[in-house]
Symmetry: C2
Subunit: 190 residues, 2 copies
Amino acid sequence: MSLRAQRGVATREKVVAIARRLFAEHGYEGTSIEAVLHESGLSRGALYHHYAGKDALFEAVLEAVEAEVGRAIVASVRGVEDPRQALVTGCLEWMRLAGDPVVRRIVLIDAPSVLGWERWRAMEERYAFGMLKAALQAARAVPEEFTDLHAHMLLAAINESALLVARGGGPEAAEAALEDFLRRVLGPTP
Amino acid sequence: MSLRAQRGVATREKVVAIARRLFAEHGYEGTSIEAVLHESGLSRGALYHHYAGKDALFEAVLEAVEAEVGRAIVASVRGVEDPRQALVTGCLEWMRLAGDPVVRRIVLIDAPSVLGWERWRAMEERYAFGMLKAALQAARAVPEEFTDLHAHMLLAAINESALLVARGGGPEAAEAALEDFLRRVLGPTP
DNA sequence: CCGCGAAACAGACCGACTGTCGGTCTGGAA
DNA sequence: TTCCAGACCGACAGTCGGTCTGTTTCGCGG
């Protein structure tokens, strides 16, 4: 890679890291481009050279977070043979990860509003949701024709659990409830 | 009621109605206070006399929508004796109502981001979520200690169904899937 | 009937923010 | 060495949310 391209990549990574922190702390609306510029030492022109606008920057941040979470979930189910158990394990891991304020605020709260539900869903499809759907298919726990819709509903339920953990009451109760919920949806173990 | 108070109420209702349409069409960020002022013919001073800020106006709009939806759901389950069936009926009705773009955009997509998840949840508690929780308790389908958390997860799942209907594929599939999902969570009919 | 307080309303104004645009600098290919 | 594309710069325009200082209008006690 040429020195120029390297510099470009480094700049983008730096900006995304800073924006990620600010978006998580103050939300999308509460974060000004100027703050990102100030903290990164970059100029307006430079930032707008790399990203078309504030929403494009947010999308880049979202993609980075989703990719990171995706890797963590894959790692958590490595070695689990039973597809049903892998599903439960992966879901619980996702719930724990979504307990991170960064994930909560960026992925679950702001993303649908900023990008619009369609673009948000398309992003999720490539990460968390895609994996859940595949796992649900492998487990063969629900009728074929419902796989897609049930995967959506399950993911929404899991996300809600993650948000509830932050409310208080500790993660133990939420984990127990989620596991019970999952086993109900998946049906009796064969 | 005095003439002055009447005028105030009328003004608020007018502004809320206009803001509701604009928020639903263009989202919270995409709607400017100026647009609301222009369409309502009101002045800045007048609007800020009634609402502390843009988010307060949004909250008023949200409350109006929630109240309306709440009344519709109550009406839909009137006459249904079996609590379990009432639960299913009410959920399906909520899913249909949430198919309305106004409800989708305002209640499901923008509200958590604009008001923050806590304030949004507090609002839902007084309307849709409160009813769902009560119904779940009456049906005695899930363990006592899980009622609250399961109600949250269920509501999230239902909301997701509503958003999926808008994506396409028609409401029939979503309704069938939701009903199947509900019956799984509620367990076998006693 | 008068006048006073308060609510409703008006609109100029301010600071902050996003996005644009012409221009500069530099790495690397020709 | 020449030259161009991409990285970067910063002044500027336009918009928006919110504030502030009046002005009008209603209700009510004197």
